[in-house]
Structure formats: C-alpha cells, structure tokens
C-alpha cells in the first residue's frame, strides 16, 4: 500500500486525534491531511509530476511531516537531505537527482541558493518559516498552503513507485542515493509495528532527524497505527528531553547508542521516572551491553529493543527484549516477514559461528541506488521485486540463529549513529592548501561510538593548526563528518603497493614541530 493511503485510513478513524507535536504546534490527523493535500495541489499546480523529486532540508518541525505526505500525494519522491549539508555536496546531489522543487527551512536558504547556482539548475524553492519581508524569489510554504488548487491530484498511483530517495555515505566517498518504493517502506513499517506491538495509543518521542531512515520510520509507523509522534530537534540537552518524555507521557523512545550513553551517565534520576515509557529502541550502531543493562536498570518497567538496520532496507533485525539479558551482544533475528542470514564468498549460507557477510531478503529491500532518472525509472518497471541486499557487514550467528555483528567489510566510520566515509573526508583534507597526505580513521569513544580523526602530513615549510584543518573541513562537510581531532605526522604509513594504510590502532607518533 502507498504511504499516503495509510494516512488516509488513519484520518478516517482518528481525524481529530493528535498526529504530530512539534514545538508549540499540535497537528491532528485532519490537519496533516489538509495541509499535505494543499501542498500536493500547490506542487501539482506548479508542474510537479509523478516521480519528480522533491528535496528537503528541514529540521524536526511540523512542516516536515506535511512535506513528506504532500510530496507523496503529488506522486513525487521525497528526498530528505541532512540540513547541515554544505553547498558543494548539495549541488552535486541536485545535479544527480534533478529535483523539481526544494523545501528548505529559511535558515538553510542561503546554502540552498549557493548550491542551485553551483549546479546551474532551475528549481522551485519553497522556504518554511520565512518572514514575509525575507528577500529572494522563494515561495513561502505557509502561503502555498492557503492557495486554492487549480489542478486535481494524480489518481491511482502505484506502490511500486519510489517513496524515498535517501543519501547515505558510500565507501567510495561519493554519497549513494538509496531508492525505496512505497511497498518497501510499507513492508518495513508494518513489520516494525508488529514486533513493537504499536497501537493507536502509542506516543513516540523522536529526536532522530527526518533525513534518516530510523527517523522516517518513526513518522510512518505512527501514522499507520494512528498514534502520536512528538518531534524534538536535538538531544543536546538530555534533561530537557527527559522532561518532555514525562510531559507528553511518551510510550516509545527511539535512541541511538550515543543518546543511551548520555542517559546512562545521568546521575540522580528520580525513582519511578517515566512510568509511561513502554519501550526504548536502539539502532544505528552497536549498543554496548554495559549500556543496555544500565538502561534497563534505570527504566525497569521499560522494554529495551536492540535493533540493527541499514538505509537500504530500513530495518534488518531486532532482539526480543526477553533475550537481552541472555544475549546482550546479539542484534536478534530478521524482522517479521523477511530473511537475514550470513553467507560465504560464494553467497552460500555458513554454519553457526562462521564469520561471513550478512545478506537480507524481503519486500523491504530497496529498489537499488540512484544513477539517473531515465535509467532508474526504466529499471523499476522491469525489476524483480525482491532482491538480495549485501549489507557489507560481517556477521556470525550462534547455535540458535541469533545474529552478531562482527565488523564492517569496508572502513566506514560510525559516529553518533551516522555513517562517515573516510574517503569523503580525505578528499576535503587534500583540498586544503599545504596538506600533502591525509588519512581519516574512527577513534573509539565511550559516548559517540567512534569519533572522526584526521591524520595529516604537511608540505614542507607549511604551518597549519588543528583549528585550521577543522575549520576548513567544516566549510565542506556535514557537521557530524568534521574531524574532532587532527594528528600531524611527518609522513603517513603506506602499504607495499604505496597505498596509505592507517588503522585506528596505529600507535600515535609524537606530535611534530610544524604543528602549531
């Protein structure tokens, strides 16, 4: 089923119920339906056609859910982008996906304009929360919702069409656009709903960005069951979120391990704290057993679901909370209605205990990676609906077929639950005048899993400080990709083939003198 049809079902049953809480605004199912309908009509009026791409640079505001459903009602594809993405990368993505329109918070408008100029493309720019006197040729989101539609919306859309195009870090350093159909998203979300046992009584509080699969599934699952999604923008002040969970009587709270670490480190949490919280989930990176047991201790009445996912199929597996004490390092088994198993290099299943690559099969597996519009749309028509996803993650199983993550096949870094490609960061480092050699590794961190570290050798006579390097990176990279520390070396270690070989375990050499 298409996702906007799921919204339609919930509107019929729960029109006046609160669907989304964002800051001061509380939107009912009828509100989301009306506003997304108006947005869809406005998009269609300005020429947006089914399968056109609509890019988003949005925070967790009320406009974000409206933008997703408005896009889907127009038959278009939602392309949520990380709002801290810088103009150059944004321009490259605009050139690749050729969006018909971009919906951006006014704060990111200068960046979006710079990207459009770099890409040399024309597209409609819609700004949310823009003051009426804010200069430029953008359309105001709020004004579009008030317009009277002059065209009707497309009818009988197909659930084999794309719902989402989500960009994720690839091991080559170029971002990959993951294509998920409505059927993919629906299959993943119905499966998640079944094992979390979500109902219309659920109130989920999410700080996860809606540019991220784990964030988007919170929105879609709540809309499917007629529950309530409380959006918060950040976990920077954990106490504030704890208070919000209590105020809203939240029953579900999705975490990434970094957030779990911050909660686990909080002292003096009152007894019987968060009595309404039915479950927490953890995904996006491995949750260390010490954290899961601490969370269970702080929240004795709350079920802890450890999960594992990839943008390419949204969710792979979950560990039933009853198994957590027995198998604290497992990520469980394939989510209902799907298969996940470990294979050898020939693609054949291995015996328990043997390390191999995890593969995933099922109706949630993506349609593929975006290349260009014409090829993609042609392929989708002819593609076999169910394909095997090679996760690039090495796993093993125990005797009872529970899955255990071992390591990545490539050198992708996971920090705060987000993937960082070392090559992407290295490319930016090499563009800094004075850098002769550069390598990027992930350094273990108790809170963030890994943090990004740059190792740099400078050209002779060049002087650069750690701050100079970080400042340069911050101009081109999303915030979470920017190195937290820089180590200066005379030369970087190389393999016999001359390739720079840097592993996180390499003993640090003394800091050099030209590192000021």
């Amino acid at each position: 089923m298409r996702i906007e049809a799921r919204l339609g079902n919930s509107v019929e049953r729960f029109a006046e119920k609160t669907a989304v809480v964002a800051g001061e605004s509380r939107l009912s199912y009828a509100d989301i339906d009306d506003r997304s309908g108006s947005l869809a009509a406005a998009l269609a009026t300005m020429g947006v056609r089914p399968n056109d791409r609509i890019a988003f640079l949005l925070d967790n505001d009320g406009e974000a859910p409206v933008s997703f459903f408005g896009t889907w009602k127009a038959g278009a594809i939602a392309c949520p982008l990380h709002p801290s993405m810088k103009a150059q990368k944004l321009a490259a993505i605009f050139s690749s996906i050729e969006p018909a329109a971009v919906i951006t918070h006014v704060r990111y408008l200068p960046n979006v304009r710079a990207a459009i100029a770099l890409a040399g493309r024309k597209m409609v720019v819609i700004a949310t929360q823009a003051p009426s006197d804010f200069g430029g040729d953008h359309l105001r989101f709020e004004e579009l919702l008030r317009r009277t539609p002059t065209v009707s919306l497309p009818q009988s859309l197909d659930d084999a069409d794309l719902a989402l195009l989500i960009h994720t870090s690839g091991s080559t350093g170029d971002p990959k656009g993951v294509m998920l159909t409505h059927a993919n998203v629906d299959a993943a979300c119905q499966s998640i709903i079944s094992y979390l046992e979500n109902t219309a009584d659920e109130i989920v509080l999410s700080v996860l960005p809606l540019s991220f699969g784990y964030g988007i599934t919170q929105l879609v699952t709540m809309v499917c069951v007629g529950g309530t999604l409380v959006l918060e923008k950040s976990f920077a002040f954990p106490r504030k979120i704890m208070d919000r969970l209590a105020e809203e009587k939240a029953t579900g709270f999705p975490l990434v391990p970094a957030m779990g670490a911050l909660i686990a480190g909080t002292k003096d949490l009152p007894e019987g704290f968060l009595p309404h919280l039915r479950y927490v989930t953890s995904a996006a990176a491995a949750l260390p057993p010490v954290l899961s047991s601490r969370l269970q201790e702080i929240l004795p009445q709350t079920k802890v679901f450890v999960m594992y996912g990839q943008t390419e199929c949204l969710r792979v597996s979950y560990l039933s909370p009853e198994e957590l004490a027995k198998r604290p390092t497992s990520v469980g088994k394939a989510i209902p209605g799907t298969r996940a198993f470990v294979v050898d290099e020939k693609g054949l299943p291995v015996t328990p205990g043997t390390i191999g690559e995890l593969v995933v099969e099922g109706p949630h597996v993506m349609a593929g990676y975006w290349c260009d519009a014409a090829t993609v749309l042609q392929e989708l028509r002819t593609a076999d609906r169910e394909r095997r996803l090679l996760t690039g993650d090495l796993f093993r199983t125990d005797e009872e077929d529970f899955l255990y993550f071992v390591s990545r096949k490539d050198d992708i870094i996971k920090t705060r639950g987000e993937k960082v490609s070392p090559q992407e960061v290295e490319r930016v480092l090499y563009a800094l005048h004075g850098v002769r050699e550069a390598a990027v590794t992930g350094v273990e961190d108790p809170v963030f899993g890994q943090v990004v570290r740059a190792h740099v050798a400078l050209e002779e006579g060049r002087q650069l400080s750690e701050r100079d390097v970080i400042r340069h990176c911050a101009q081109y990279l999303e915030d979470y990709m920017v190195p937290k520390s820089v180590e200066f070396r005379e030369a970087l270690p190389r393999t016999t083939t001359g390739k720079i070989r840097m592993s996180a375990g390499v003993e640090a050499e003394p800091q050099l003198e030209n590192a000021v």
Partner: protein, 85 residues
C-alpha cells in the same frame, strides 16, 4: 557583574562553533535553534566551562536555560560564581 565572563565565553563560542554558521550571533540567540551547537558541542562547552572556571556542572544544570545562549551562560556563571564580598 556577569560581564566579567562575557569575553571568554564569546571567544570560545566563536573559535569553536561560529565557523559553522555564516554570520555572527547575538548574545541572546539560541545556539541550538541557530544550528550552532549540537550534542557534541554541548559536551565541549561543558568541558570548557568546568576547566576555565573550576566549577562542576551538575546534570540537572545542563539545560537550555543555563547554556543555550551567551546571555544564559554568563548569567548562569554569575549565579554559580558570585563575587566574593
């Protein structure tokens, strides 16, 4: 007077976070709403304040009312470190 903290706090913010934003910020601007700091940033900020002023910031003090703008930070510091009579 809270002003005694102003220059050090402002310098730390501008050295460490402002290069992410395009423009300078007002003392009253929310650092979070402005996209200037995130959860890593808040931890760095706490480490800076604790090291610079020799204070311990309790978990329940890590709230926007104390730390989310330059103005909030300097009045928090003034409450935390009253001038000796």
């Amino acid at each position: 007077m809270a002003q005694r903290f102003h220059s050090a706090v402002r310098e730390f913010i501008s050295e460490n976070f402002l290069f992410r934003a395009d423009a300078d910020i007002a003392d009253s601007q929310s650092l979070l709403e402005g996209g200037i700091i995130d959860s890593t940033g808040v931890l760095e900020l706490i480490a800076f304040l604790e090291a610079t002023y020799g204070i311990t910031i309790a978990d329940e003090e890590i709230i926007p009312e104390n730390l989310d703008s330059i103005e909030n930070m300097i009045s928090y510091l003034a409450r935390k470190l009253p001038v000796a009579a």
